[in-house]
Amino acid sequence: MRPEAALGATEATAAREPPSESQRGGGASKGPGYGRLKWLVRWEGALIIALIATIALGAVTSPEFLTVSNIFSNVSLLYGELAIMTLPMTLLILAGEIDLSIASILALSSSLLGYLWAHHWPMPLIIVCVLAVGVVCGAFNGLLVTRLGLPSLAVTIGTKTLYAGIAEIVLGPAIITNFPSRYTTIGVNPVPYTHGLLSYSGVIFIVLAAVFGTVLHATPFGRSVVAVGWNKEAAQFAGIRVKRVKTSLFMVSGLIGALAGILYTFRLSTAEADNGIDLVLPVIAVVLLGGVSIFGGRGTLIGVILAVLVYCGLQSALLLTNFNANALEIVTGGLLLLSVLIPNGGELMARVRRFYRLRSPVWQERR
């Protein structure tokens, strides 16, 4: 019963084309015929074209680009954790919330992993413990947002600093590197039977992407996430437990952040308090690039997966040229800016034209 209700709510709102539509970052306001799906098809299409262009660019500029070793070490290994973290972030942004603390949870789990290992805990127990701490961190975010009614942008700026701070308290200036090779090979070796293409984090991303995609697009829970993001009140009246949905999304975000922390630590075989702390804005940038509206309620996981590929591909292609490695984030910025300007370009021109058309008679009237 619930999925129909939720779907009905979104569809009805989409069909009505609310006036704020133009501000939602989409270009769907050309007319009543352009529903939500049209826009999505267009955006994902654009991303596929961008991906093909990226691959072509990479192949042209460097013969190294399409080699197995490049795809493994510069794409699947280097961006594994970032890719994994985009998945829960997609769900959260779709639900109209945001989690700026996810990279701090990564850092916290990395430093907890190092601390417990230095205190001779058995590794399986450490992993369970670290994941549990991640869930607790996420639950804390979720409770502050849903039970106290605070904006998640402000809450997670606070907990971002808090969790990063706890990470520093736990490990201090220490750097733990003596992890057993059994685990660190997970971080650097390809998964067997993938022809050396995929890292463990890459495979985990693929599996998780399938799980998240199915949950988001084919289960009542996933549909309720979208409904909550589209219209919280309507979702509430449709019988969706808004607070519970949001809290569980924050918990998932914490869990995945902790998992990314474990993978990050094994990849570098180094536990440090500031591991991966700068990843949060790139994660959000990739999700937005994937066509997810920052206001929630709009976007698909396919778009985000394509955005991950475009992002990784373009960065790795630039890495193979003589481009300044420290300036690689210009890719993030440029793509992000294009992703909001292109869908709004037509509308922008239309507004300018309308402005001039309206303007002359009004001015004459006033005089």
Binding site: G25, T161, I294, N324
Partner: protein
Amino acid sequence: MSVAIGTVGPGGGTSGSRRLVELIFRIREFGIIAVLLLFVAVTASIQPRFVNSQNIKFVFSNATIFALLAVGETLVVVTRNVDLSVGSVLGLSAFLSANLFSQVHGMPIVGVFAAGLAIGLACGAVNGAIVTLARVPSLVVTLATLYIYRALDVIIVGGGLVVASSLPNAFLAIPTASWSRLSAVPYLAIVIAAVVAASAYCLRSFRPGRELYAIGSNPEAARLAGIPSGKRIFFAFVMSGGIAGVAGVLWAATYGTVDSTAGYGYELTVIAAVVVGGVNIFGGSGTVVGAALGALLLATINQALYVLGISSFWDPAIDGFLILVAISLDHWISVRLTSALRKRSLHHAT
């Protein structure tokens, strides 16, 4: 939000509710001052060294740049927007302006500040133009320009570096210069305080300033009331950029050595200061005085922890905790305020 509430509704209820609003608003800023004084008192009682002029000077010089950035950020945040690019603008301006000393022989210090201001204004104008013309959410735009400005900085700087020896002594003395009898308070802190006071006055008493609050309180209503929202939001972004540009020059003067990492990650700290200072992250309420006090509070706490000999590893955790306390408190006050006002207006209606 609440500032706007205080002025609406003519009639008997206004003066009473306005008094209530103003009282609570004063309490809001008093709250930060109270926490500040409490912190200073407790720290000073444990470690009297904390209130010597050297330490106070440190606190002020750490707080000035963040207080300045917080003023600009407040202008943007009250309009229900956000400017994430301030750290990158600061970095860009810090390098380009400080580099002028070695590029141009006999470069006057005023010229360097003008250059920093111009760079900041240009960056802010780009942000503002994209946000207002293309009607794109500012979080996305400034997240993008955060990376673009930083990348430009990295490309321009290359392997270069501005070192303190290439900067004139008069320039390096700006952040620490003070009156000899009151050496704890640098001139710069007084100038910044004046800037904060002036912008607080403009926001409170001038029409464009009030309109920023109106836009943040209810964008649709502001538009229908004939407020040129686009123009005002553009102005807020330009101001925020310009302030970040000037802050970049001050950063260069304070630290002397400028590479491409200047101001890295400042954006979230600035927003934290603004939020601690009682500015609603969803716009419509909050003052620049509060935001500047928020920056001062964060700087004081960091210095207090240092003086108390608590490892600096505790800094971020305590900052984070404080931010959470501040926003919870702020939310609690605004909920109380709304219900009090509603009760009052019901009372007057009957």
